[in-house]
Symmetry: C2
Subunit: 546 residues, 2 copies
């Protein structure tokens, strides 16, 4: 072949816009099929609404509606009472992929979105499948009228195209509404929009969510907690979580003028003493200008940073739901006999703080046979797909549930009338794909989740154990009654007294024993009832027709 002329032909080489890439690979973002596409779109919009409200200290009121256009086409509407978006940002916030406020290179805080892709991907999917622009209404506190934009994405450039722009009077003083028409399929089954909304209500008990399905049926998920969750604070990167390339960028971008102040200023948990120790181990001069550090010097610095004993990261970047709230919310959404919740203390994987919360509900409306209901969450967002690929599932199946009153064969999902909820809150949730459906298998995460599950499991075992004891007592009493006639005859023969009064007395005795048990049970139940919040199971089956 070598003697043939070989001319390098590189004229096809070109830039590919992120929009082009993700349009063709839309399954990576959760738009694999029409059922999932609808769910993903709602999820991305609601994530944004909740994040916006919370970051501006507004108790969220979210309105979600799915309208049927025809058999294969639906319109999704999500409206919030958030702060609104200022005019210069609207088009890019919804019409440009990889644009947002939540992507952090150095450090960060817990939030629902973390990629800057989500909602623009929904706009792109709508446009790809229906050719229609998305419609945005938004109003900030300062605006007299609300801004209305119809938006498309220019796929070739990944820039927004404003199709129309007007202003209107709007009922809300501030907030945002998005409408997207898209190819979709609506189903009321597992991993459906309604299931997503219900689960979102469970882990966001401070939100009021109104949902109108394609039949026009309205369901209101009232607030269970009247207080916003503790705000997550931004934290600087922890030395253990930083890699060499990132350190090099930090060295270049810092405004500090000496290595020791660089360390104490730019990193979490590095005070003067720790900085001194890091620098001593690395053999570097504390007075060097950070910008002047060579790659080799930076390599020494990072090895020393990773080798030194440094306190665990600050955990104010996390905003747990809290065991009390979680228990309340679970009981508000499901009719249960027993519920218990655990919030673990924060822990760390690869320099990122995280914590695990677990809730277990038992009995009541839950079916006694078949596998328990698992619900998984990351940063208060339900994970409805890829259960098998998720570290949270792995932690559930690796617990020995036979110890805790449930049935289980091998390392499978246990069986019984229970619901198991696991929530991972983290400054950076390590999802296995852009569609954010499963948490990656970090051993630290699995271990923490397992500890939380075991703690909740022990409470479950106490309850189930007590219940079984009571059932045993009733069975014993029944048995006693069965033999009461024979017994009274025998006692009558022994004592010489008539058998009828003896029989009566024996019966009375067992009745009283059982009554005593029943009263105790009633008392316990009514105390539980009182503790239950206003939102009821009925809320989910709401019947208001629009």
């Amino acid at each position: 072949m070598a003697d043939k002329p070989i001319v390098a032909n590189n004229q096809d080489l070109r830039s590919i816009s992120p929009a082009e890439f993700f349009e063709k690979n839309r399954h990576l973002l959760g738009f694999d099929n029409p059922i999932k596409a609808l769910l993903t779109s709602v999820k991305e919009a609601v994530d944004n609404s909740l994040d916006a409200c919370e970051s501006h200290k507004i108790l969220p009121e979210i309105f979600i509606q799915i309208q049927k256009i025809n058999e294969t086409r639906y319109k999704m509407i999500v409206e919030d009472n958030g702060p609104g978006i200022s005019k210069e940002h609207v088009a890019r916030a919804f019409g440009k992929l990889l644009y947002g406020s939540k992507f952090q290179t150095f450090g960060g805080k817990q939030g629902r979105g973390q990629q800057g892709i989500g909602i623009s991907a929904s706009v792109m999917y709508g446009q790809l499948t229906t050719g229609k622009p998305a419609r945005i209404i938004t109003r900030t506190k300062g605006m007299k009228l609300a801004l209305v934009q119809e938006l498309k994405i220019d796929i070739k450039t990944n820039e927004p195209q404003i199709i129309t722009e007007t202003t209107i009077e709007w009922k809300h003083e501030h907030g945002t509404r998005i409408e997207i028409e898209l190819e979709a399929k609506y189903m009321e089954k597992k991993a459906s929009v309604v299931e997503y909304v219900r689960q979102t209500a469970v882990v966001n008990p401070h939100a009021k969510i109104t949902y109108i399905d394609p039949e026009g049926q309205k369901t209101i998920f009232e607030r269970v907690v009247e207080k916003l969750p503790k705000e997550a604070e931004f934290i600087k990167p922890h030395p253990y979580g930083v890699e060499l390339g990132v350190l090099l960028r930090m060295l270049k971008e810092t405004s500090t003028r000496a290595l020791n102040s660089f360390l104490t200023t730019e990193f979490d948990k590095v005070g003067a003493t720790t900085a001194e120790e890091i620098l001593k181990t690395s053999g570097l001069d504390p007075k060097i200008m950070p910008k002047l550090l060579s790659v080799e010097q930076a390599d020494k610095l990072i090895k020393s940073m990773h080798g030194c004993k440094i306190m665990s990261p600050t955990t104010t970047c996390l905003s747990p739901i809290g065991d009390e709230n979680l228990k309340k919310a679970l009981e508000a959404e499901y009719d249960l006999e027993f519920a218990f919740a655990v919030t673990r203390p924060p822990s760390v994987y690869r320099g990122n703080p995280f914590l695990i919360e677990v809730a277990i509900g038992y009995g009541g409306e839950l079916p006694a046979d078949g596998p328990v209901k698992l619900i998984r969450f990351a940063n208060r967002v339900p994970l409805l797909y890829q259960q098998g690929a998720c570290a949270l599932t792995k932690s559930i199946t690796s617990v020995d549930w036979k110890n805790y009153g449930l049935q289980q064969s091998g390392q499978n999902v246990p069986n019984g009338p229970a619901i198991i909820l696991v929530h991972m809150a983290s400054v950076w949730a390590p999802f296995t794909s852009e569609s954010k459906e499963a948490v990656a298998h970090y051993p630290e995460i699995i271990k923490e989740a397992k500890l939380a599950l075991q703690e909740a499991g022990r409470q479950l075992q106490l309850y189930v154990g007590k219940k079984q004891k009571k059932q045993l007592a009733v069975r014993k009493a029944d048995m006693f009654k069965l033999y009461a006639i024979e017994l009274s005859e025998a006692l009558s023969a022994l004592t010489g007294k008539p058998k009828e009064p003896i029989h009566k007395q024996l019966n009375k005795l067992t009745e009283e024993m059982l009554k005593l048990g029943a009263i105790e049970e009633e008392e316990a139940k009514s105390a539980e009832e009182k503790a239950k919040p206003k939102r009821k199971l009925g809320a989910f089956k709401g019947v208001d027709e629009e």
Copy 2:
């Protein structure tokens, strides 16, 4: 809350560069851990080398070396005899994510790369973990000297930074060499670099691959086939695979001036008659300027395109390995008793042509107990991770292998001394993630793979059946010999003749029966030997020290 001042705070909204996004989400690209990072880097570089050679009709000669720097750091070197890259493209080809020649929006052809991310991601990973630039040497036919660039990626802008640039004398007239230092771990186990190289040799029998491991041990995988595979041709998009948003872009970008010529010019398998039928069904005027079509009209057009009977897509965009070559390559790499390969005719999923090839090897060096060895490929690239998530695995486990001479419990991977190879060739391989490790579960793909596996399975069954028959014959003869003394005594008594000659004759008879069988077997074996190519099992265990 409503009476508190709410000020929308959007100043954090900003663009995120694809490099920033993928640096933080590097696990999405296959850089989850140090073992996988090394493999992924080699894979991306070799994919590029093979694609470049083939597209310029060069028989590939690839050199791969892994050098150990220290316990956690390695240098990867990949060199090819490809066309080289012209100077203006080098930096962006290796130092910019989402830049390449293989990403196609409309239509396409089979190729290894299809994203424009791979090799730049490896450069980025090297820089992130070691702070070092990648080193590129490249020379095109016209260049007097080879160009040498040291490259980094500016993460904030996703643009290449040329650190140094020189020229050198180079042994190759044309070709490219890339060197990347990266944090890595080297292991010789499943899913290792050496396994990757070996599997690559199997599905690229036209390539010569030299591999030097960290110990300096050199292995040469010689060519088994001296001919380049049939070149895949670019095909236009098939109407069935086009969505509304893409059609709208095509309408805008076309240079045709009427709808009927738009259809016949821009689509695969649309001639004048089909165009006429599509337009008639849609009710659109054939003379409309494509650019002037409204969204509603385009929607009518696409519904009609999807509804009309149109011939299956052109399949010259595919370049199968071929059953003969596949069998030869499998036999060259593994010491087997039996091998058989099948290349299925092309089929279609979502408008994309694809075809399945299967090879089965049996016996020889393969262990008799435990699961069979599965090897999966997409467009001639080995898939070493995520076996459980792959449609090709699914198709293997859904075949009933007990029918074909292997053991199997339920729908698990079968057991036995066999290797099963499945190759999917497609204009667009639907990977489940950017790391390209598993094929998505399209029913059409699973069905085709199953048919191919069953066809190969029937051949396996014939072979295993024959083998079992022969073993049975030997066992019968042995049994016969055991009873020959008793038998000859009985015959002697019956006939009155001496028993010794009878016994001798009986033994002779069984010997001859067995000899006859052995000769048949030998003949079959030597015919097989002649058909075997030069490359031998030994090649893999090469011992030349460098």
